[in-house]
C-alpha cells in the first residue's frame, strides 16, 4: 500500500498521463478528419456506424475507418482474368482490378493469377478508382487470415 501511495502520484505516472492525453487529442483530430474526409473521397464507403440505442434515442457514431480505401481484406467470391470479387469483413462486395502492375504473392512467394481461387482469404493493396473499384498493386493470399479473437 505504501509503495502504491508513492508510485501513483509520481512524476512518471504524470508523464504517462500527459502522453496519453496528447495521443487522445491527436486521435480525436484524426477521427474527425477521417469522418469528414471519407464522406468526400469515399462516398458510401465510410465504416458503418457504432450504434448506441436506448429508449427514445438511437445514436450512430462513425467508427472512423474506411474498410475499402487503398486496400481491402476479404474472401474471394469470383475470379476472372481481369478482376476478382471479394466479400469483405463487413459483408460488402469489392471488385479488385488486375493490371500489368499487379503483383500476386502466396505463402510460397510470387505467383500468377491462376493461384487465386474462390474461398481464398486475400489482402489487397492498390489505388481506389472513382467507380469504387480498386486497381490492385499487391494481392497477398493468406492460408487463413487472422482469426477474429472476439466472437460476436
Amino acid at each position: 500500500m505504501e509503495q502504491f501511495k508513492k508510485l501513483v502520484p509520481s512524476e512518471k505516472v504524470r508523464q504517462v498521463l500527459y502522453g496519453l492525453g496528447i495521443l487522445f487529442v491527436a486521435m480525436l483530430i484524426f477521427h474527425a478528419g477521417v469522418v469528414t474526409g471519407s464522406h468526400r473521397h469515399f462516398p458510401g464507403k465510410a465504416g458503418p456506424g457504432f450504434g448506441l440505442r436506448g429508449p427514445g434515442f438511437n445514436v450512430q457514431l462513425p467508427r472512423g475507418f474506411i474498410p475499402n480505401g487503398h486496400g481491402s481484406v476479404g474472401t474471394i467470391q469470383n475470379v476472372s482474368t481481369s478482376s476478382i470479387t471479394l466479400q469483405t469483413r463487413d459483408g460488402a462486395t469489392q471488385t479488385v482490378l488486375l493490371t500489368d502492375k499487379t503483383s500476386i504473392r502466396t505463402q510460397s512467394g510470387a505467383a500468377s493469377s491462376t493461384a487465386l481461387s474462390v474461398g481464398q482469404q486475400v489482402i489487397i493493396l492498390g489505388t481506389p478508382n472513382d467507380d469504387g473499384t480498386i486497381s490492385a498493386d499487391l494481392i497477398r493470399a493468406t492460408p487463413d487470415s487472422v482469426r477474429n479473437p472476439i466472437k460476436r
Binding site: 465504416g47 467508427r63 497477398r140
Partner: protein
Amino acid sequence: MTSKRDMAFFTKVEPPQHLFEAVLAYIALARRRAARIRLAALGTVMVVSVAALVPSINYAIHEFYASGFYDYLSLFFSDSSVAFGHWQELSLSLAESLPSLAVLLLLGFSIALLWSLRRIAPNVRMAMMPIQSA
C-alpha cells in the same frame, strides 16, 4: 495626530488557551470532509472507467480485426520486402483501417482510470485522518 502609544488600551487580547487547537481541528475537519467528497467522486470515476475498460478492450480488438488493420500489419512480418516496396499504399491502408473510435474509447477510459488512481492516493490518507477535538 493621536499616536498609537496614546491608544494603549487597544492592547491585544490574549486568546483562550484552547483556541489554537480548536482552529487546527476545525481546519482538519473541513479538510477531511473535502477529501471524503473527492474520494467518493474519484472512486465513482475509477469504478466506471474499470467497468467500461473491459468492454472497450474487447471492442477495440474486434474493430482492429474487422477493419483489416491486423492483416495489413501482418504484411510487415510475412512479406517485409514487398511491404516496404508498397509502403505508400500500405501506410494509407493502415491509416484508413485504424479504428479511431475504438482507440479513442480505449484511451479515454484508460486516462480516466489512471487519473483517478493518481488523485485517489493522497485523498485516502486525508479522508481517514482522525480529528483530535480541542
